[in-house]
Amino acid sequence: MAGVSLTGAIKRYGATQVIHGIDLEVRDGEFVVFVGPSGCGKSTLLRMIAGLEETSEGRIEIGDRDVTREDPAERGVAMVFQTYALYPHMTVEENMGFGLRMTGHDKAEIKRKVGAAATVLQLDPLLKRKPAALSGGQRQRVAIGRAVVREPDVFLFDEPLSNLDAELRVEMRVEIARLHKEFDATMIYVTHDQVEAMTLADKIVVLKDGRIEQVGAPLELYRDPDNRFVAGFIGSPSMNFLEAEAVAGGFRVPALDRVLEVPVRHPGEGTKVVIGLRPEHLETDRAASGMTVTLTEALGGVSYAYLETKGGERLVVEERGDTRSSDGDRVGLTFDAGRVMVFDAESGLRIR
C-alpha cells in the first residue's frame, strides 16, 4: 500500500504540450477521481502514472519510490481499461493469473490467489469461460479481478464503466466502492461522469486543458468551487450563469432586472462579473411574471423547468412538491441571495 505523488509532471507530444506541470498528492488508501471534459488530459495523466506514457518532465513517486523512469510492470500498479482489454484467447482464470505467471509465481499460489479474487468478485462459476462468452458487466468484473490478483499498491481505472449500460453502471459503481472499502487500497479513477466522481471519490481532481482546476472532497467542490469552470462542471443540471455588473451596494443583473446584495467582497464599481445560481437553489414564483417556461422535464421526484428571460437568457430551475410549472407558464424567480456565487467575468475566478 502506498500513496502517489506527482511533482511538476509534464507531458509533451513533440511540440504540443498536453499536461502542464501537475502537482498532486494522493494519500495511501485514498480514492481519487480525475474528472474533466474530453481532451482535458485526465487519461493521459493516468497513463503517465501507469507508465504507459512517458513523462516528459517532473517526478512521479509511488510510496517513497521515484518511478518516473521505471517500467510499468515495476511500479506496483494495476490498471482497468474502458474496453476491459481481456486477453481473448485465455479463460477467465488464465486472464486473472497472467500477471502472476509473468512474474514467476508457482502454480499453486496463482490458483489460490485467483480463487480468492474470484470469490470476492463472484466470478467462481465463470473461471473456465473465455471472455467472448461473458456479458459486459462480467468482463469488467474479470478485468477488475485481474487487477486485484496482482495485489498492486495502486489501482488505476480508466473510465471503466463507460462501456456498460446505465443499470449495470450503477451496479458496478457500488461494487467498486465496496472493493475500495474491502482492500483499503489507493485507487485513481478517471471518468467524465460526474455522478461516478461524486459518489466514489474521497477526493476529486478537476482537470481542464492539462491543468488542475481544483482539488477537493466532492461536496467541497460542489459547495465552494474556486472558479466558474468547476462550478459549472460539478452539479447536474449545471449551474446557471448570468452576466452582471458590480454597482454600489451589490450586483446589477439585467436578466433578472434587479440588484442583488450578495455577501461577498465587493470588486469595485463597474467590474463585469458573472453570477452563478444552482437550479436547486431557485424557486419559481407564480405571483410574478418576468419569465416564460419554455420546457419542463418531469423526472418524478423533481422536475426541471427551463425558463427564458425577456432578454433571451436561459435558466434551469429545479422544482419539487405538488405544484410544478408547465410549458408556457409566466413565472418569476425567488432565491436566497446568500446562495449566489460571484465570478470574475474575465478570469472566471470566484469572488468570495
Binding site: A78, M79, F81, T83, A85, L86, F98, M102
Partner: protein, 400 residues
C-alpha cells in the same frame, strides 16, 4: 463481320441472356408453376411458351430435314431423320405439354387456401433460380473435371484401355513417385512454415518503423514475379560460376576457388529450390499478418505490459494467439499453393538430381500417358483436400 460488332453481339447475348434468364424463370415460377391467381388459360399459354424452345430445336433437328429438303435448302438441315419419327417426337412433346399443364393444375391449384401455399412455394424455389447459373457453371468447370479426371485415371495410355486402379498401383511401386511424394512432403512442410514465420517476423519488426512501409513494399515485390521469372533470377544466383552466381561469389571471397552447382547437391538441392518459393510467398504472408497484427486491440498489449510481460512473451503469449486464425489461413493457403507449383522445379532442374515433386512428375507424363498423369493429379487433389477444408473452416471462423 467486323470484330467490334462480334464483340458487341457477344455482350448483348451475354447480358440479354442473363436478364432474360432471370426475368423469364421468375415469370414461369410466379405465373405458370405456382400462380397466386386463378388463371388456367394463362397457365396453359405459359406451359406452351415453356415448350416452344425445345419444340423449335426439335423442328430444326427432326422435322427440318424434310421441309428444308422440299424447299431446296437442305444444307440447313442438321440431321436426317424420317418424317414419321419427327412427327412422333412432336406428338410426344405436345402430350408432355398437356400433362405438365394438368400436373400443375392438380398439384398446385391456384384456388382457395392453396394460393398462399403457392406463394410460399414460389419463394422457397426462388433462391435456387438465382443460384442455378453459378452452381451449374461451377459444376461444369469444377466437379465435372474431378469426376472426369478420376474416370480417365482408370484407363491406360490408350484411352480405350481400361486398367482399373492399375495406374495407382504402378505409381505406388515406382521409386520416382516415392521420391517426388517425399520431396513434396518436405516442400509442404518447409515452405509454408518458413514463409509464415518470416512473414510474421517482418510484419512485427516493420510495424513501428518509419521506413517500415518501404521495407514491406520491397519484400512484397517478388509476389508480382511469375514463378518462371523468379526461377530465372535464382538460376543466376545459383549459377555454377563465381562471376555470375552469388553463392559461388561468396565462396570465392572466402578462398574456395572451385565453384559448385548447388542444384546438384543431393537432398539439399531441394531446399535451394524451396528458397525461391519462400522468397515469393513471404510477402504474401507478411501483408496478411501485418494487417492482423494491427487489428489486435492496443489495450490488451498495454494490459500485458502492466502485467509484466517482456517483449518476447508479449509477442508469443498475447499477439500470436490473437492472430492464430489468420496464421492458420496463411499457412494453409501457402500449403495449397505449394502442392500446385511445378514451374520452379520444372525450370530449375527439370526434376533431375532427385528434386522431382508431384506436380512436375505429373508434367512428365502429361500428353504422353494421360492415364498416369491424371492418376498423379488425383493423388495431389487427395493430399490438398484436407488442407483446403481446414483452410476454409478457419477462414470462415475469422469472418464471423
Amino acid at each position: 463481320m467486323p470484330i467490334i460488332v462480334q464483340g458487341l453481339i457477344t455482350i448483348l447475348i451475354g447480358v440479354g441472356g442473363c436478364v432474360g434468364y432471370f426475368y423469364l424463370s421468375n415469370l414461369a415460377l410466379d405465373k405458370v408453376i405456382f400462380p397466386a391467381k386463378e388463371t388456367p388459360s394463362r397457365r396453359l399459354v405459359g406451359a406452351i411458351i415453356c415448350l416452344i424452345i425445345p419444340l423449335g430445336l426439335l423442328f430444326f433437328l427432326y422435322v427440318g430435314p424434310t421441309v428444308f429438303g422440299a424447299l431446296g435448302i437442305g444444307f440447313l438441315a442438321l440431321s436426317d431423320v424420317s418424317t414419321i419419327s419427327a412427327l412422333l417426337a412432336v406428338a410426344v412433346f405436345l402430350v408432355a405439354t398437356f400433362l405438365l399443364f394438368k400436373a400443375f393444375n392438380t398439384l398446385f391449384p391456384a384456388k382457395g387456401s392453396s394460393v398462399g401455399d403457392n406463394i410460399n412455394r414460389a419463394n422457397a424455389v426462388r433462391p435456387w433460380l438465382f443460384l442455378f447459373p453459378a452452381i451449374f457453371v461451377l459444376g461444369l468447370y469444377l466437379v465435372y473435371p474431378v469426376v472426369g479426371s478420376f474416370w480417365r485415371s482408370l484407363f491406360g495410355r490408350n484411352p480405350n484401355d481400361f486398367v482399373g486402379f492399375g495406374n495407382y498401383v504402378s505409381l505406388a511401386q515406382s521409386p520416382d513417385f516415392r521420391i517426388s511424394f517425399f520431396n513434396n512432403f518436405l516442400w509442404a512442410i518447409v515452405v509454408p512454415a518458413a514463409s509464415t514465420f518470416l512473414g510474421l517476423l517482418v510484419a512485427q519488426l516493420t510495424d513501428k518503423l518509419s521506413w517500415g512501409n518501404i521495407a514491406k513494399s520491397l519484400i512484397f515485390m517478388p509476389m508480382a514475379i511469375s514463378f518462371v521469372g523468379a526461377s530465372l533470377i535464382w538460376k543466376f544466383v545459383y549459377a555454377n560460376d563465381a562471376d555470375i552466381g552469388l553463392i559461388n561469389a561468396v565462396r570465392a571471397m572466402f578462398g574456395f576457388d572451385n565453384p559448385i552447382d548447388v542444384l546438384q547437391i543431393p537432398f539439399w538441392n531441394n531446399f535451394f529450390l524451396m528458397v525461391i518459393l519462400i522468397w515469393i510467398q513471404t510477402g504474401f504472408a507478411m501483408v496478411i499478418l501485418s494487417a492482423a497484427l494491427r487489428g489486435i486491440p492496443e489495450e490488451t498489449i498495454e494490459a500485458a505490459i502492466l502485467d509484466g510481460a517482456n517483449p518476447w512473451q508479449l509477442f508469443f503469449k498475447i499477439k500470436v494467439p490473437q492472430i492464430m486464425a489468420t496464421i492458420v489461413v496463411v499457412w494453409t493457403t501457402i500449403t495449397i499453393l505449394v502442392l500446385k507449383v511445378f514451374d520452379i522445379v520444372y525450370t530449375m532442374t527439370g526434376g533431375n538430381f532427385g528434386t522431382e515433386i508431384l506436380p512436375s512428375y505429373m508434367m512428365d507424363f502429361m500428353f504422353r500417358d494421360d492415364g498416369r498423369a491424371t492418376a498423379i493429379a488425383f493423388v495431389i487433389m487427395l493430399v490438398v483436400l484436407p488442407v483446403m477444408v481446414w483452410n476454409i473452416i478457419e477462414a470462415r471462423k475469422e469472418t464471423r
